[in-house]
């Protein structure tokens, strides 16, 4: 029996935007910058769509937690081909544990056979939500997936680990988080974008779920990485050796 797949997606600052730290160091300035779906989440949506297209899933539901604009990220998932969306409306900084609890609340209602998330979001790089969610649900987890093979009662997840690949078999339902090499997400096509406008997005107010959303961490400081020093063009290998000695790289 084909299963329902739930995919969590996050709206983040576009990876190609050069972010600037706010003058007071409290975070980065997001006014007027391009926001996109987190790239690992795109990979998660793509994987779910491929499983559905292979006849192994019956429905793909995209869930996002965040302010009103998070609906656009859900719409992006629908334009890629997902069937419907769930928008858990919440303002402010929501930390991974709260996100995991909110997702669990949605999962308790939706009862999917598989949940796919990105391994991390490129804005905070925390890499925690999938693992916390699996723990809260008490489901098996396969993180950093570079291959997902879905069977009737279980799923084989090939993971990118230090020094190679590891394949684990998880009983369903399970949580999978995606790594970069899992797939190359499709573009959103015009007909699908038009269809997506008619697909339903259910709205849930996070406050109604009885979960403590207050951040447990305080950001002390945000700083720009040190600027790279410009390079120099050298004329010959001999000159290079000279420079390396000068700077103490070579003895």
């Amino acid at each position: 029996m084909p299963i329902k797949i739930l995919v969590a997606v996050k709206r983040v600052v576009d990876t190609n935007v050069k972010v600037r730290v706010k003058p007071d160091g409290s975070g980065v300035d997001l006014a007027n910058v391009k926001m996109s779906m987190n790239p690992f989440c795109e990979i998660a949506v793509e994987e779910a769509l491929r499983l559905r297209e292979a006849g192994k899933a019956s429905e793909v539901v995209v869930v996002s937690i965040g302010p009103a604009q998070a609906a656009e990220t859900i719409r992006t998932g629908l334009a890629m081909g997902a069937d419907r969306g769930v928008h858990v409306k919440a303002e402010g900084r929501i930390e991974p544990l709260a996100v995991a609890k909110l997702l669990k609340a949605v999962i308790d209602r939706e009862a999917p056979g598989l949940v796919i998330l990105g391994k991390q979001a490129i804005d905070d790089d925390l890499n925690q939500t999938g693992q916390m969610l699996a723990a809260l649900l008490d489901w098996p987890q396969g993180t950093f997936a570079s291959k997902v093979a879905l069977g009737d009662a279980d799923v084989d997840v090939t993971r990118e680990v230090d020094g190679g690949l590891e394949t684990v078999r998880l009983g369903l339902p399970a949580v999978v988080t995606t790594d970069l090499r899992l797939n190359e997400p499709r573009y959103a096509s015009l007909p699908n974008i038009m269809k997506a406008k008619k697909k339903p997005i259910e709205e849930i107010d996070a406050q109604t779920l009885g979960i403590d959303l207050a951040p447990r961490h305080t950001v002390l400081k945000t700083a720009e990485p040190a600027a790279r020093k410009g390079g120099v063009t050298l004329g010959s290998p001999a000159e290079l050796v000279g420079k390396l000695k000068e700077t103490g790289v070579l003895a």
Binding site: T15, K34, E42, A79, A188, L190
Partner: protein, 474 residues
Amino acid sequence: MVRNPPSAALVERFASIVGAANALTEPAAIEPYTLEHRGRYGGRTGLVLRPGSVAEVSAILATASETMTAIVPQSGNTGLVGGQVPDDSGSEVVLALDRMRTIRAVDAAGFTLTAEAGVILADIHAAAEAVDRLFPLSLGSEGSCRVGGNVSTNAGGTAVLSYGSMRDLVLGLEVVLADGRVWNGLSGLRKDNTGYDLKQLFIGGEGTLGVVTAATLKLFPRPKGLAVALVGVPSPEAALALFGAARERARQDLTGYELMPRIALDFVFRHIPGTRDPLASLHPWYVLVEVSSGRNQEDADATLEGLLGEGYEAGHVLDAAIARSLAEGHALWRIRHAISEAQKPEGGSIKHDVSVPVADVPAFLAEATAAVLALIPDARPVPFGHLGDGNIHFNISQPVGGDREAFLARWAQVNETVHAIVGRYRGSIAAEHGIGRAKRDLLPGVEGDVAMAMMRGIKAALDPKGVLNPGRVL
């Protein structure tokens, strides 16, 4: 003009102006300055001078005028008509501006930037972006071409549609004349009718009237949103209809509209690593559409989706891939910019850089394609380019498995056929790359006697001894 290589004493004299380290005489050091992008116009020289200041450029030109030494100005060496490389005589000295890389001023409040001739276009983009401004000139060569070359070729590119070509983007110039005198015309004024607008002579002057050493450029507000799509269309006619609708909806915010045939995409996906087809099925023609917004991303998305949706209903659009992220937008643009590169492994290519009135582009394409195929039945036309400007790079790849040299030997004949059709549409045979050496002999045939006489008069007034880029343009 002296047609012999400069004497050792003269080389010494030139070298003393820039310093020995910046007077290149070793063949290996010189080679990059004599080979151009297409490998068609490589020549010889024994001397490349790399001045570091306006004073040095001035001294070089004064010496050149005095000794009747031909000077070939070169900035980024990406020009496509052979103007920036020396001829085969060995008598021409290359004057390379590539050391003059200072951005002299960035005026965010006044929306201007003043840069020396050797600043790379991509560095101008970055300097403008650093103060939240845009310099809109956008070329496939932007990582290598330099301001001096952009000015001297009146470079166009993909953003002409909305922002104009270099001629519209230059507010002032600093130029060294053939005799070494320096004209400081670096005004940032938006309005200035004091006498003739002299800078216009050097914009598109292709190094024949003076050496540009610095330019004051116009900056623009940076768009707050940018939406990009690759659109499958049934025909150039449909592309033209969609263009009209796109302009109506997006107005000045239609910042890119590029036409490409399927074969161009096939070449790109076959030869350029990291590219892939963004659409699920094949279409005969494509347009790359870019819409900007001064408000926000949602506005740009809504305009683009709106116009494509309307085009879809009208049958002008078959399918479209819309970029979700900046990375996807760059990937779509990469397909367009990689076309010339992807043509190379397909063998010889006969090129035309032509323009016709925008509304005539479909008819021109049909006629020129038929005429070329009548000459060479298995040739593979790959016409692409700036549909919104009526500017088509009417390139023709050789037949599969055919003989490269035999095909290229027909260059002049094919040119003549295509240019004749361009002429009937009252188009241009040198739309954006210029005349250089490539089209010099064609110029008198397309410009009447009156125009030629005026051009010769201007050349004589500014470079009476003919030391600057002889044999180019005129």
